[in-house]
Structures are given as structure tokens and as C-alpha cells.
């Protein structure tokens, strides 16, 4: 199908973009990489009167590190994140995850800001952001707001962004020497949206977790920062602790049934991922036995 008619405008400064969003409100849609918006327009799931193309706001393209924070501009494309030396060094979880996001031709256009603003519950980046305790920076004419990633995602395709706000960047605390990460997703094909996935970031203290942040995706209406992690922190992990954590995890999950997988399968796969994650991060093959439990 073809998109219905709209008017198109391409501001060249952030201030102009924010003024346009303030003026048109709900009648406008921000166009970034277009890799989620254009399908929605072509399928006529969305029919805005105005498209505000932010592709010309080159200030938003930068990836940089300063004062312990990796800042990724909203217009950094998936391929830029994938190839960034700063990302590889300071937030390698993102590079691990990005290879699972769509396909090369889509990664050449899709942007970090668009991906996070789109808030697909099966999407990798939102889960990485909650695992990495990122801050999402949004701006309107009224000023800037800084939101914890876990407060930003509020439902299926729903975020805390207001119509007149632009997501401008995401800020991630840089990984330290004891940081380890895990990423794995179950998908039918390379590049497809996940059936269930886990992006995790942890701090090790000897053979234990000093901290463990588990970002599950495709397990509910938004990425889940699993509180089940508390069963695994501060002491050497035993099979009994892992079993307790798996049970706690299952209680937190609220997966959807869709053509990809029924609810029970998603819950099962999430438990498997938790065991795989803990066994991998601690180098404890014995705990992987919990996968088939």
C-alpha cells in the first residue's frame, strides 16, 4: 500500500524542529530513519498531516564519551553504533545486541532515537538501555527532561515522550573493569524481532555478582528490568538460588500470545535465558543444567 498524503518539512536547527512540534502537536510525526514510521505510513496504520524530518539536525548524530558517560545522539544510525570504537569500548553490550537488529540495509537508516521512541516491546535497544541504567534525554521548547530508561518505556509502542518533545540523546554510564555483559535472543531468522531475549549487565566481585541488571524483551508490553536478579546477588550462586530466581522471574513476566509463540513457550525461554546468562557470566557450566529443568 501507499502512504496517504501529508506535508513534509525539514528543519535545519533543533530549535526550529521543536517550534514545529509545538505548533503541530499530535498532527505531526517526527521522521528519523523512517524504518518503523514508513512501514506504518505505507500500511496506513498512521496518517499524520505533517512529517517533520529531523534528518538534517547533524548535532544529534554524535557519539562521544565524557565524564564517565557515553552519549549517543538520537540520529546515530544503527550502523554507526555497530562500528563505533567508543561503543565497543564503553558499552559493548550495545554492539553485541545491534547485530540482531534488523538487516544491513535497515541498519543503514534506522537511528537510536527512532528505535527508542518507537518502543517496540520486542526490540533489543530498549532492553539494553534498562540493563545499562541509561538516561534518555528529551527536549521541548520548555526545556530538557532526563528520564531513567526504565521510566521511559510505558507500554506497547508507548513512551513518556510528549508530542512536542524530541528525544535528543541517550547517556550510558561507561563500563568499568569488573563489568561483564550478556546478550542472547531467540528469533526465527537472523534479524527478525525476538521471540524472547535478554540483555544483561553485571558487576562481578570474585565469583559472585555485586550487581546484576537483567533486561528482558518480548516478554510483556515493555522491556522488563527483572527484580528476580535480587536472588542472585552478593553470595556465590547455587542451583537452589537460581531455581528461586527462575520462579521469581516467571511471576514477573506478562508475555503476549502471538503468531511467533504462545505464552508458556515465552516463559520457558525466559527461564532458559536466565540460566544461560548466569552460567555464562560466572563461568559456571554446572548452573547451565538449570536450563532444562
Amino acid at each position: 500500500m501507499k502512504a496517504s498524503a501529508f506535508s513534509y518539512i525539514r528543519p535545519t536547527t533543533i530549535d526550529d524542529a521543536l517550534a514545529l512540534l509545538a505548533q503541530y502537536g499530535e498532527q505531526a510525526k517526527v521522521l528519523s530513519g523512517g524504518q518503523s514510521l514508513m512501514p506504518a505510513l505505507n500500511l496506513r496504520l498512521s496518517a499524520p498531516e505533517w512529517l517533520v524530518d529531523i534528518g538534517g539536525l547533524s548535532d544529534l548524530r554524535t557519539i562521544a564519551v565524557s565524564r564517565g558517560l557515553l552519549r549517543i545522539g538520537a540520529l546515530a544510525r544503527h550502523v554507526d553504533v555497530l562500528k563505533s570504537a567508543d561503543v565497543a569500548e564503553h558499552a559493548p553490550l550495545l554492539a553485541d545486541a545491534m547485530v540482531h537488529v534488523a538487516h544491513p540495509a535497515i541498519r543503514n537508516k534506522g537511528t537510536m532515537g527512532g528505535n527508542l521512541a518507537h518502543a517496540d516491546p520486542a526490540s533489543e535497544m530498549p532492553a539494553c538501555m534498562i540493563a545499562l541504567d541509561a538516561v534518555i534525554v528529551v527536549r521541548s521548547r520548555a526545556g530538557e527532561r532526563r528520564l531513567q530508561a526504565r521510566d521511559f518505556f510505558i507500554g506497547i509502542y508507548e513512551t513518556a515522550l510528549a508530542a512536542e518533545e524530541l528525544l535528543v540523546a541517550v547517556e550510558i554510564p561507561v563500563a568499568n573493569q569488573n563489568s561483564v555483559r550478556f546478550f542472547h535472543e531467540y528469533a526465527r531468522r537472523n534479524g527478525d524481532y525476538a521471540i524472547v531475549g535478554l540483555a544483561a549487565s553485571a558487576t562481578l566481585d570474585g565469583g559472585s555478582f555485586a550487581d546484576l541488571r537483567l533486561g528482558f524483551f518480548a516478554v510483556g508490553d515493555r522491556p522488563l528490568l527483572a527484580t528476580a536478579a535480587r536472588h542472585l546477588i552478593g553470595r556465590p550462586v547455587t542451583a537452589a538460588m537460581l531455581a528461586e530466581a527462575q520462579a521469581a522471574l516467571e511471576a514477573e513476566l506478562d508475555p503476549q500470545e502471538d503468531q511467533q509463540a504462545p505464552v508458556a513457550m515465552r516463559k520457558h525461554l525466559a527461564r532458559q535465558l536466565l540460566a544461560l546468562c548466569v552460567a555464562t557470566l560466572l563461568g559456571r557450566a554446572d548452573l547451565e543444567a538449570r536450563r532444562s529443568a
Binding site: K2, A3, S4, G34, M38, P39, L51, A102, N108
Partner: protein, 161 residues
């Protein structure tokens, strides 16, 4: 305005000045306004890859890009890559290995395969599959396509298959 907008771009090296409606996507612009029908349209929502073209050197989905967004850009289509001879060996390998049947996916496959070979002269089969994972083929079952790309990579490196 929903009225036409002026755009200037180059398509296969040739300068084009046109008036386009904002909602017109690049695939339709190439096919219907410029008569470049080698860029195919399958799904119109990014999943099949039949519309793959190069914009400023990067492969993209022409169905997910507005023609107005290509103002000042350099667009290359399968016609451009064929006429310049850039993919002649890849095309020959596709024929030799029966890597096409109906041919609907072929322009997009060639664009994606050539993109891989420009970035990686010695891809293994898994890397070829990964790079072509966004391109559907409903006829060949993919193996012959992977074979053709692998054979072209070998030949370009001066090695025997």
C-alpha cells in the same frame, strides 16, 4: 504543503531535477517517474528487500525512503551497477549457478551481495547469509544464491572455487 516539492539528485550519475509529492517513495519515483523498473517492489514495508538501492554509497530500502529525502543525494540502482559493469561477474555467477528463477528478488539480491563484497572481500557462508538475511527469495531456496556470491568473492580474489 501536500503540493509537489522540488528535488535535485543524481541517479546513476545523471542529474535529475523533479517535482515530487511528499508521500512518494523512492522506489515509486525510480519506477514510475524515471522508468527504472529494475528496482522491484514487493512488500512496501521493508521486509522483502526487492527494492534495495544504494544511496550515498549505502544500501537502503527504497520503499522506506521518501523521494524528497533524497534531495542532494546520489542514488544508484541495479541499472547503474549493470551498465557500469560493476556487478557483471556477480550477474554471470547468478546465471551459472541458477541463483535466479523468476528473478523478482534478483536486483535486490545483487545490490545486497555487492554491498557485502565491497566491505568484505572474503566472506564465509555464514556472513553471506547474514548480509542477505533481509532479502526474500521465494524460488531458489537460497543455496544457489550463496554459492554464486561465494564463487564471485573467490574469483575476485583470484582464487579457484
Amino acid at each position: 504543503m501536500t503540493a509537489p516539492v522540488a528535488v535535485s539528485l543524481t541517479v546513476n550519475g545523471e542529474r535529475i531535477d523533479a517535482q515530487v509529492l511528499p508521500r512518494l517513495n523512492l522506489a515509486d519515483f525510480l519506477r514510475e517517474h524515471l522508468g527504472l523498473t529494475g528496482t522491484h517492489v514487493g512488500c512496501e514495508h521493508g521486509v522483502c528487500g526487492a527494492c534495495t538501492v544504494r544511496v550515498d554509497g549505502d544500501i537502503v530500502r527504497a520503499c522506506l525512503l521518501l523521494a524528497v529525502q533524497t534531495h542532494n543525494a546520489s542514488v544508484e540502482t541495479i541499472e547503474g551497477l549493470s551498465d557500469s559493469g560493476e556487478v557483471a561477474d556477480l550477474q554471470a555467477a547468478f546465471c551459472n549457478r541458477n541463483a535466479l528463477q523468476c528473478g523478482y528478488c534478483t536486483p535486490g539480491m545483487l545490490m545486497a551481495a555487492q554491498d557485502l563484497l565491497r566491505q568484505n572481500a572474503a566472506p564465509d557462508r555464514a556472513q553471506i547469509r547474514e548480509h542477505l538475511s533481509g532479502n526474500y527469495c521465494r524460488c531458489t531456496g537460497y543455496h544457489a544464491i550463496i554459492d554464486a556470491v561465494e564463487a564471485t568473492a573467490l574469483a575476485r580474489r583470484g582464487e579457484q572455487p
